[in-house]
């Protein structure tokens, strides 16, 4: 069977968010909200997802761009491309963490069409799930990755609950570290969800990665002024520097006081990607380093504390020292 031509669907291109939400409400489970398409088209070409109605959000001007807010924060339209975020002077100046994360996503062409909203809303990348097998996440009752022969090198260290897939996003940990707020519009109106709560694990709903329900659209992401201009650290480790999803990535925002050489960590938010189904906020690390001198010893302790409780699968033990080292570097080098 060809796996190239997508199944037929009807395409709608509304010019307002409300128009999109109305269309998606009308289509219900047969509808699909399309942003940059880089994730959606894989599903469509593999004929695993076959929506009857696709609502293309790309023509909605109000969903694009970076706006400075009166409180000193910024609001980023969900359809802003990763390239635009990477190059935006305000993001680069105040929230370099997000620019650094956006720059490490996939490839230049994918960043040119891929959106921040799509990047944080993308589905799990477990290859069994993507292949179309009837796993837990697809509605079945098996996990093919968590078996003696299952290939699970990319899978999780924490929070497994039947499914062992991870959050594949590079920007998601950065948004958690920046304490972002996600603005969601749905049939019942607008709601705001903290990034900490936006991503959900299989213990809450095994068939979704975020709180977004069918028919809801992520419209904007707000970054609070509180973390503007903090010290940042982002690093992604992947098999290749282009295209590949992270094996582990780390995003940290740190506020320090004191003279260079004897700095003290006053506040920190730190999150790791690709180690759990959600970007993992490392609250233990935050507790360990807050109020401590920003030294090599603190950084080492932070790294050790980050991996406490990890439950590796057959082929992903390497992620434990990887996460530990990335956390150590983040605290030391931010």
């Amino acid at each position: 069977m060809s796996r190239d031509m997508m199944s037929a669907f009807e395409l709608y291109q509304p010019d307002s968010v409300q128009g999109a939400v109305d269309l998606l409400a009308k289509f219900g489970k047969d509808g699909w909200a399309l942003a940059g398409g880089n994730d959606s088209f894989d599903w469509f070409k593999d004929r695993i997802k076959r929506p009857k109605y696709v609502v293309d959000l790309g023509g909605i001007a109000s969903l694009k761009g970076v706006r400075e807010m009166p409180d000193g924060g910024v609001e980023i339209g969900a359809l802003t491309t990763l390239t635009d975020i990477e190059r935006n002077s305000v993001i680069q100046g105040k929230y370099k963490l997000l620019a650094d994360a956006a720059r490490r996503v996939a490839s230049p062409q994918i960043r040119n069409s891929g959106t921040i909203g799509g990047n944080v809303s993308q589905d799990a990348r477990c290859w069994y799930y993507r292949y179309g097998v009837n796993c837990y996440r697809a509605g079945g009752n098996t996990c093919f990755a968590d078996t003696p022969q299952g290939q699970n090198r990319e899978h999780c260290l924490f929070g497994a609950s039947r499914c062992v897939a991870v959050s594949p996003s590079d920007t998601a940990p950065a948004l958690v570290a920046l304490d972002a707020t996600m603005v969601v519009l749905g049939p019942k109106g607008q709601k705001e969800v903290k990034a900490d709560d936006f991503f959900i694990g299989p213990n809450i709903d095994i068939q979704r990665m975020t709180v977004l329900e069918k028919g809801e659209v992520l419209t904007a992401i707000r970054l609070p002024a509180e973390w503007a201009g903090a010290r940042f650290y982002f690093e992604k480790v992947a098999d290749r520097n282009t295209w590949d999803f992270p094996l582990v990535n780390i995003a940290a925002a740190i506020k320090v006081s004191g003279a260079a050489g004897s700095e003290k960590i006053d506040a920190i938010r730190i999150a790791a990607g690709a180690v759990q189904c959600v970007p993992r906020r490392l609250t233990v690390v935050e507790g360990v380093v807050t109020g401590q001198p920003k030294t090599e010893d603190t950084a080492k302790l932070a790294g050790q504390s980050a991996v406490r409780g990890a439950t590796p699968l057959n082929f992903n033990h390497f992620k434990i020292p990887l996460l530990q080292n990335l956390v150590t570097r983040a605290i030391r080098d931010a």
Partner: protein
């Protein structure tokens, strides 16, 4: 054609560049059929089970549209689920744009859309209505002379097998339009979304650096 913008705030379709304003819908469709007839490959591609739209359903976008490709306004009948790579290759006959993986994982299908390098396999044709598409065929000058990047590719023996070359060149042209004198690292970064199975990466970098070394604006676009 009144509903083909589907409520989007787009410029009026510029059909009058090739048909008079009085042209009927029937004549427009005839024009589409005539211009597509030369491309016989479309037959097998669009008859796969489940890929053709339900003829009875009427919702959504207007299938007939006009694409701005390589400076020409091209009328074409496009399915809602059709990618730009399919349209270019099988409807418009522009086979310089290659399909490698059809998954946004190789870069062979790279074209520029409003000057920005894009994977045409991962772009719906209906999403580029009213935008300026340039393929490898659109780079040649008014008298058929090669684009500087193309010439440099020859001078530096850039390609080996050549399959990825159109995509590599389009990425390079997009870079040099925005940044006429890039460093080698910037070129490496800009071409990082294009795979080369022959491994001729350094040759490509040499060629782009040569093209950029002329001190002039590199693209005529």
């Amino acid at each position: 054609m009144a509903d083909n913008t589907n409520g989007r705030d787009l410029p009026e379709p510029q059909f009058d560049q090739f048909v008079s304003k009085a042209t009927s819908r029937r004549q427009f469709i005839k024009g589409v059929i005539a211009s597509g007839a030369a491309v016989s490959a479309s037959g097998y591609l669009f008859t796969l089970a489940g890929c053709s739209p339900n003829p009875k359903s009427a919702g959504g976008i207007e299938r007939l549209l006009t694409l701005n490709v390589n400076g020409q306004m091209r009328p074409v009948d496009v399915l809602p689920n059709e990618t730009l790579a399919m349209t270019l290759r099988y409807k418009l006959g522009l086979t310089g744009t290659k399909l490698g993986c059809d998954r946004g994982e190789c870069g062979a299908c790279t074209v520029t859309i409003d000057g920005v390098a894009s994977y045409s396999c991962s772009t719906l044709t209906h999403s580029v209505r009213g935008r300026k598409i340039t393929t490898i065929e659109g780079l040649e000058g008014a008298n058929g002379e090669l684009h500087k990047v193309q010439q440099a590719m020859i001078d530096e023996l850039g390609p080996q097998c050549g399959f990825c070359t159109p995509g590599q060149i389009m990425s390079a042209v997009a870079l040099l339009d925005a940044n006429p004198h890039p460093t080698r690292d910037e070129v490496r970064h800009a071409l990082s979304g294009n795979l080369c199975r022959c491994g001729a990466y350094d040759h490509y970098l040499n060629a782009v650096m040569r093209a950029a070394g002329n001190g002039e604006r590199v693209s005529q676009a």
